[in-house]
Amino acid sequence: MAVLEEPIKGVPLVRNYINGEWVESKGEIKDVVNPAKYETIGKVPISTRDEIDEAVKAAQEAFPDWRRTTPVARARYLFRLKELLEENFEEVSRVQTQEHGKTIDESRGETRRGIENVEVACGIPTLQMGYNLEDIAAGIDEYLVRVPLGVFGIIGPFNFPFMIPLWSAPYAVATGNCVVVKPSSEDPFSQLKIVELVEEAGFPPGVWNVVNGGRVVVTGMLEHPGIEGIAFVGSTPTMKYIYQKCGETGKRVIAQGGAKNFMVIMPDCDVRATVAAMMTSFFGNTGQRCLSGANLLVVGDDKFYTSFMDKVAEATSNIVIGYGLDESVQMGPLRDTEKKQRILGYIESGLKEGARLRLDGRKFEIRGDYPDTCFLGPSIFENVTPGMKIAREEIFGPVMSVLRAKSLDEAIDVVNDCEFGNGHAIFTSSGKSAREFQYRVVSGNVGINIGIVAPMAFFPFSGMKDSFLGILHTQGQEAVRFFTESKVVIQRWF
């Protein structure tokens, strides 16, 4: 099958977008690497503190006018952005594959999910409405309006370089705020493409800014008195740091962290559909997502276990690995060599702790002529116990740890012992089991016969325990609430 054309040509330098201008950073320059080919495809700046200050200043200056722009007019900017994203759907999808490594199906899926958030935010004239009650006392009325706050910082992770900033940014600007987005420096081209379309859509200067970089930019956002709040998605340790810093500086925050999701398999599940769901859950995006399955917890006797695991192992061993722009490929590379080394460390750890490596992802074939530098095959560990490191810690790679339970009760106990609560799921044909699971499991997102429990744009992306800190979430109504303050007015006329 032919490899699709790559959209990023040459080795372009990513620039910052501040106050409606493309600005070259004064910071040091880092390579952006296509992990499938292990070649440099671009350069990204690690911007300075001054540059984040400049972006925040521009956003602060743009805020008063943008706030006064009517919600209907703000929605029209978003409608234009949505149209431009649709027109550029294929290109932005290929950019994601080229810079991140995921398959083209996964990139197109990511693009669709991102656009859906823009679509939902287009409903802001309705979403931002307040409420009122007349005659709360004689001749006195009371009403609530949702007002924007100013400037928000949005910090995106490497694993969904296009979609995740769109969980927040469209709602922030739709409600009348201005944003400064910091994309992951590992794959900054997706956000670059979005902001090119933001510019084309005609957003006023300063409303939507992008500053590339790393820790200095993040710290600059966290410490800047002009930033009212932060929306962050990343690892749990960083999530805790962000939450703490936002507490210290009085910022509101959405902080989404890591996960260790359990897929609980009941003996009455639809085996064919469940096995397919396991493939995408554990190995989709090469395991690099906070909603990936990590622990497969099989309930039932030896006969069911053996039969189910034989099918899982067979399907896993047939996964086609290669460059995501080849449409026949089912799993791409990891984002970089450091991540691969980290996962290899977990495989060693599993072996040391006595788990059985049924499928060794260190041995694999790549479709096409690509270096194996960032590639790793899917692994399956059996005989895993809940105390093992591979069952407790987030591996963030294509490694399935298989545990067993005698009953649903035992399975729920094992799941709830986990430190994370992001996207646990059950596979069953029993409504009773499903209801019991969703009721008792401590997880922000719960799947019933769904392997990737990704809430749609009109629902919040939830999370519990070490997977989330904050109160309100990204996406939908909750994002609108996060990016606005409730102003309550009590009025009386003499």
Binding site: T103, D105, R112, R113, N285, S328, I450, I452
Partner: protein, 142 residues
């Protein structure tokens, strides 16, 4: 080649529609008695491509099993679209019928495999199956 991803199956559908459209355009040029019918088939084929792509791009998300929803052997659905120089009208119709049967089988199999995994795509496939079955009836009546 074994196709397991949604994008590769969509590409195969695109290829089948494109090739069969060209085939009908060729028939229309060579057989005046069926020109209008063949041209309308070619036009429909191009519309089917749009419908399939719209369904796919509309529902492909990272939450569904896009990379694992199919198990299609593309060689099983190879179609013969080249017409020999001396092919008569009746043989050409037989070739068209054979081609349509193969394409119907492709869409039916692909829809069946993906019906619980791919949201609107199997429905789009089955809609084309229905229309193509009507087309088969028409071809057989010519």
């Amino acid at each position: 080649m074994r196709l397991q991803t949604a994008s590769s199956v969509i590409s195969l559908a695109r290829e089948l529609e494109g090739e069969s459209a060209k085939f009908y355009e060729d028939l229309a040029q060579r057989f005046a008695e069926g020109e209008d019918t063949f041209l309308s088939f070619a036009k429909e084929n191009r519309k089917y491509i749009v419908q399939i792509e719209r369904a796919y791009y509309g529902v492909i998300t990272d939450a569904i099993e896009g990379c694992f929803a199919f198990d299609i052997e593309s060689d099983d659905y190879a179609i013969e679209t080249a017409l020999a120089e001396k092919t008569g009208y009746s043989d050409a119709l037989s070739q068209a019928i054979e081609m349509e049967e193969t394409v119907v089988k492709f869409y039916t199999d692909a829809a069946e495999q993906s019906k619980s995994l791919m949201a609107d795509v199997p429905r789009a496939f089955m809609l084309i199956v229905r229309k193509r079955n009507d087309r088969l009836a028409k071809l057989r009546s010519l």
